[in-house]
Every structure is written in structure tokens, then in C-alpha cells.
Symmetry: C2
Subunit: 431 residues, 2 copies
């Protein structure tokens, strides 16, 4: 039996690993609360149809799906969006708009077993339903930046790469690309960073782009990356182009006001951010480590059509998903994760002239005052008790003495400094 | 698509339901921390063998098990004990003893679909590994009582029904029952409350008990329930009997010292508490509502052999499992659950002479001070903004005015009272 191992791709969270996870969850929750988001959850097991309706039958290859004992096709949830769309749609009329909801579900994918490739992870999902404007987009971008800052990351560590499909469409239109070519261009942009440049050029040509168009597009992307949204101004002269440009500038200005510091170091306009061929209809963004060593930390955008497609309710929506795995690597690398689970605040120790009931009564009083307290469960010499306290990482020992039952000694276990205390007074001050 | 429902027996946690769950989890975590417990987690999906090795092949009927795409027999976890036994056994030498661990896993059972019968629930699991004595038992009992108190329950609401298999064995031995009859008696005691008395009497007779033995046993159970552990003293005269009696008295005395109040109103010695035919070796206990209207709220005990059987490591263990469903019913019935998710602390509102960037900058500053803040995402008349603040349940509105940009008005949205503030000073005091 000692040989039964956990399944491949699944994690055991021993207390030190759990402490890292708890730190990540608590940080997410703290910032989400400030932004007025309330938490929800759904079932980790859902009807398979919930996912195939959104993503087509080909998604099944990647799912942890099975037929249950009642003959139902079911799946462990691979993502939260279909669940939240179902839930919001079911109460669409009763919910106060805009709806600000977040969740931290564990998600599952049956991916080919690879070293270091997990089959489960946790993901912060935060969405605003019921507002289709730039102000909702800015709330989400500011929240992303505030979460990064709350973890102790700076704009030297991470970068939000932002685009907008409506803006990109206006750019491509202005550059003379017909609408039917746009999906092919999206597909190339999505992989621009991850495939050789020649291959991208070849694919753009195959899609019908002239050499001049290819050169212009690639040059514009570089120029936008370097100088920001202003680089698009000369190109976007028609009404739709001007509107999209102004909207992006507005989104950035609103985000800047919310975060209380210049937005440029945090957010870079990057027209290569496409987020696959999925359901986005407006802004799209991903967060990367500035060194570019890791996969995306977080990604999201606006998806105004999805609630209608999934839940039959017409409601604009925008949000993001933020996994715990890449984030954990980044924070660990920067020394921004706790190294150990919490240790006792007080270890109650006693000489052998002290009644054990007195020790337990003192322990109980301290715990009722909210303190994290341990003590030796078996009678031990005082020296051994103090050694146990140190090895438990306790901050302080409270030493009780039989010859002076109303007093005690508090020892700082880091410095070794001792203070005599009146027990009743000291206990009263612990609350 | 609007017609895709969640699976039978699985819960959607809308924000009000999530707030109840969060309250329960936070209370569990707060008390566990005071007792020096650290949190862990394991995979929600495990090899099927992990459960059949412990409970036999017949357990499979109740499991959410399936064959995964790699041909492995796997199961959603029905309980946490096999996982924690596997984890502790794997690091048995490295862990500081006693090990105080807790977890709040979601657990799954494929039970026959019945109205109100869930297929998932959350369960606090708390265990002490590496100490086999009464002091560890008392720590667990005191922790159970402190959790009940932390929820606002009193000894009028709930009762811990405590027994000990070693004590019960000594009692049955003293009453003249041979060892081979004991499992049959256990089975009757386990169901004594839930089946007609005649049936119990009949089964005891079938097991070989004389009429006098049946009468004596049932009388003793009533007497213990009424007068406590002292009722057993006349019976337990041999060395083993006296040892078991003293151990029970010791456990109760230690628990009393830890909880700082009389233990009798909280804990009742009840020889009918058996906890099925499972793996327990010492104390066993269950928590019930005092009215007896609900199923057990919590149950646990000592299981010193299980880690050896499951993990190949010889380590005493005791712990308990505490589900969220029956507890939730009890707390809801007593009005001890939050009725709504958290609402905004401050709603920032502004007259139409205020620049929207100023509103966002104020919102950002308040959020960075840790406050939960919302505001109107779209320009609205001040009256409408304040109405929205009230309907969001905001505690206060901060009203900005363009004609006095350095001041503001704080309105208490419950009383309607207004206070003029200097903005910079007020913001500085929000941290």
C-alpha cells in the first residue's frame, strides 16, 4: 500500500506547499474584495454538453470526461466560464448590474502526460457582467495590476500586453485587408512570437497579403510595441478607426486613474495578443514576466456574445483567468512566497512542579484569546519542552513555575530574552 | 443551452450561499490554527485502489469512480483519510510529532439519487498523528467544542456523544460476554437509536446473550447516559477495567481544563456510539444537535492501526470529519449564518461638475487603503448614484463636489447622517 502514488499530474499539497497556495488565494481574494467582487463556486463535475456546446466536440480530447453510473456524459470542469455563464444567465434579472463575481476553482485537463505538465490547477476567474464599456475594462486591468502589486511584483517584473479586436480590425481595414482575410491574419499574429518570422511571412502571403502589406503590418506591430497607441493615429483616420483609437486611449487613461501611477510601465499595447480564435469581442490581454521566461501568467478580455450563446441571455461580459502554477513559479523565483506554514505564537512550558491541569487551562485561555498555541502532550523536562518549542518554530515560550503560580516567564525564542510577567495581566493583553 | 442544468446532487454556490460556506470554512480554519494545526490538501482524484485497499471492493458501489483515458481505475475522493495516510506515511520520518494537520476537501459519493441527498460535500478533516494518549484525544475533543462555540452554538444546542471501544470491551467483558460475541453487540449498539427496541433485543438474543445480560446491558447504557462515567465504576473492578475507566476520566478532565468550563454539559458518555464496524481502536464520538432532529454533525475517534494498514508506517492517529451540510442546516436554523455576501464599504459618488478621473483616483486611493469600493461605471446623476449605493448595500457614500475639490461629504447610508470631511485627511485615516 505504501506504493500507491498520487495520479500523474496531480499535486499533493503538504503544509509548506499549502501555505504558498493559501498566500496566493488570500492575495487574490483581498484585492478582489476591494474591487467589490463577490465569490461564487460551481460544481467541479458538470454535464459534458456544457463544454461541447461552447467549444465543439474536438474539446473532448482534452477533457477529464467519463460516463457516470447513471449513463450520463460528464466531465471534470476544464474552465469556469461555461459554469458562470449558466449561473448568471439563470438569475440574469435578479442580479444587481454590473455583476462583479470571482471564483477560484480547481480545473482539470486530460493532457498528454509530460514531465512538469499538470492535469489540475487552480485559477482565479474574475468577471464583470452587464457593462460593455471601457470603464468595466479599466476596472479589470486595474485589478490585474493591483493583484500584481499586492504580490510584491513591480513593472520591472511583469508586463500586461493589451490589444483590442475591434481596434485590430480597424487597423487591418485601414491597411487594406478585406474582412475575409482577418481570421488568417489573427492566426499568424497569435503565433508571431512562437514561430520563425519567415513562416509568419509565408502564411500572410498565402492568406493573400502583398509583400508591402506584410512589411507594413510587421513594422506597425514593432512601432506600437515601442511607442504605444499613438503610433496608430496616422493610420486610423476614418470614423470607426478614430472611435477605436479613442476608446483604447480612454481605457488606458481610466486604468491610470484607478492605479494612481503611470500606466505605461505596466501596460503595453501589443497587437500580437489575440488569445487564439476564441470568443473575444473587445479588449484582449495577457500578463507575462518581463524576462519572457515563462508562459502567460494571466489572460482575459471582453466576450460580449458568449452569455447569449451559452445561456440565452444578452449581457456583455469581460473577465480574466489567472492560474496558480506559472504565478507560483514567478513568485518563488522572486522570493515572494512564504517559506513555511504558520508556526505557534506561544508554546506553554512548565516545570515538573506545575500541575498539568494548570498548563492546559493556560493553553485554553490563550487559544480563546485567539493565539496559536502548542505544548508538550506528554510530561517532559522543561529543557526538552523548550527544545520542542524551538524546533516547532514557536515565537515565544510562556514558562509556568509551581513556586510562583501567579507569575510566568515569557521567553523570546529568537533572541532568548526573558521577561517576567503577571500571568493574569499578560493573558488579558493577548486578546 | 439555457436548459443545461447542474448534475443532480451538486450545488451551485451563488454569492449568498458562498458567503455561508466561507463563514463555515473561516471558522474552522480560525480554531484549527489556534490548536496549532496546519492545512494540507491532496488530489480530488485518486487511484481507485487507495479506497478499495482500505474498505474492500464493496465500497466501489458508493464511489464516483471511472476508467480514465489512460485505462487507469480512478475515483473522485469519497473521504480524506486514505489520502492523508498516504501523505503522512511518505514523510513519516521528516515530520515533527505529533503531526497536527487539517484539510477542507470536497468529497464525492455516488449515492442513489434522492431528494435533498447530495453527491458532494465539504468536510473539515483534523487529525493528530504520532501520539496515542488521552492528551491527544482531549485536544481533539476540546477543538470540537471550541469550534461549536466559535459558531455561536451552546451546550443547549449540541452534544458530543463520546465512547471508547477499549472501555466498551472492558464493560462487555465484565458483563460476561465472550470476545467473539462483541462484533454482534457492536452492530446492535450502532443501530440502537434507529431501530425498534424489540429488534435490538432479538438480535442480542440471537448473538447468544441471556435475557439477564440483555436487560443489564440496556440498563447500563441508560444509566451511563444519565449519570456519566461513574456509573461504570462498580462494574469495572479488574485491572484492565480500572485502567479504561481512569483513562476516560482523564480524557474528560483534560478536555475540561482546555475548554475552561465544565465538560459535562458538552460531552455525554454514550456507549451506543460505535461508528459502524470501521477501523476505530479507542475513543469514538459524534456530535448531534440537542433536539435530535438532524443527522450527526461531526464524527471521529482514534484509529491507531490504520496508518500501518494504509501506509506501512506504525503511527497512532486520531481525528474527526465534519461536513458542511448538516452543520449548515443547524446554523441556518439558529440564525448563525451570514445572510448576504459582503457589500461595499464605500460608494464613491460625484456631482456632474466633477471630473471622472477624480472619481477613479479617489476610488483607487480608497482601495489601496484596503477598503471595498464601488462607483457608477457610467455617468449618472448624483441621486441615481446614491440610489445605486443603497441598493448595493454600501455602508457609506463619499460624495465629491466640483466646487470644493479638497473636501467631500461622507453619508452614512443607514442613518442618512452626513459629515463634511477634508478629503486628504479622510483618505489617510482609511488605512
Amino acid at each position: 500500500m505504501a506504493s500507491i502514488r498520487p495520479l500523474n499530474g496531480f499535486r499533493d499539497f503538504y503544509p509548506p506547499a499549502f501555505a504558498e497556495r493559501a498566500h496566493i488565494f488570500a492575495t487574490w481574494r483581498r484585492v478582489a474584495a476591494r474591487y467589490g467582487f463577490v465569490e461564487y463556486d460551481g460544481p467541479p463535475l458538470e454535464p459534458l454538453e456544457l463544454y461541447t456546446k461552447k467549444s465543439g466536440a474536438e474539446i473532448v480530447d482534452q477533457l477529464y470526461n467519463f460516463v457516470d453510473k447513471g449513463g450520463r456524459d460528464v466531465s471534470l470542469r476544464p474552465e469556469m466560464t461555461p459554469t458562470v455563464a449558466r449561473m448568471v444567465a439563470a438569475q440574469a434579472n435578479a442580479l444587481r448590474k454590473p455583476v462583479r463575481w470571482f471564483s477560484i476553482p480547481q480545473l482539470f485537463r486530460y493532457e498528454r502526460a509530460q514531465r512538469g505538465r499538470l492535469r489540475e490547477h487552480f485559477q482565479l476567474n474574475a468577471d464583470i457582467f452587464g457593462d460593455g464599456g471601457e470603464s468595466a475594462d479599466a476596472e479589470l486591468l486595474a485589478m490585474v495590476i493591483d493583484i500584481l502589486r499586492e504580490f510584491g511584483l513591480t513593472s520591472d517584473d511583469v508586463r500586461v500586453r493589451l490589444s483590442d479586436r475591434r481596434l485590430l480590425n480597424a487597423v487591418l481595414h485601414a491597411m487594406g485587408h478585406p474582412a475575409e482575410r482577418i481570421p488568417a491574419i489573427y492566426a499568424v499574429l497569435d503565433k508571431l512570437d512562437r514561430q520563425p518570422r519567415e513562416l509568419s511571412v509565408e502564411k500572410l502571403a498565402t492568406a493573400g497579403c502583398t509583400t508591402a502589406q506584410v512589411d507594413a503590418l510587421l513594422a506597425l506591430i514593432e512601432q506600437t510595441n515601442a511607442t504605444g497607441v499613438a503610433a496608430l493615429a496616422p493610420l486610423l483616420q476614418d470614423a470607426e478607426g478614430a472611435t477605436r483609437l479613442a476608446a483604447m486611449q480612454e481605457t488606458l487613461a481610466m486604468t491610470q486613474a484607478l492605479i494612481g501611477t503611470a500606466v505605461a510601465p505596466w501596460v503595453r499595447l501589443d497587437l500580437t495578443i489575440v488569445r487564439g480564435l476564441a470568443y473575444y469581442t473587445g479588449i484582449v490581454f495577457e500578463v507575462f514576466d518581463a524576462k519572457g521566461e515563462l508562459r502567460a501568467v494571466c489572460g482575459g478580455g471582453r466576450y460580449d456574445e458568449l452569455l447569449n450563446a451559452l445561456g440565452g441571455v444578452d449581457m456583455p461580459a469581460a473577465g480574466f483567468g489567472w492560474g496558480d502554477v506559472v504565478l507560483g513559479e514567478l513568485l518563488r523565483d522572486r522570493g515572494l512566497l512564504p517559506s513555511a506554514p504558520p508556526s505557534p505564537e506561544v508554546w506553554v512550558a512548565a516545570g515538573d512542579d506545575v500541575d498539568v491541569a494548570t498548563v492546559r487551562a493556560t493553553v485554553g485561555a490563550l487559544r480563546r484569546a485567539g493565539r496559536r498555541v502548542e505544548y508538550a502532550l506528554r510530561p517532559q523536562q522543561l529543557g526538552k519542552q523548550l527544545k520542542a518549542a524551538v524546533s516547532a518554530g514557536a515565537a515565544h515560550a510562556l514558562i509556568l513555575r509551581g513556586d510562583a503560580p501567579e507569575g510566568g516567564t515569557v521567553r523570546d525564542l529568537t533572541s532568548g530574552a526573558e521577561t517576567s510577567v503577571v500571568l493574569a495581566t499578560w493573558l488579558a493583553n493577548q486578546r
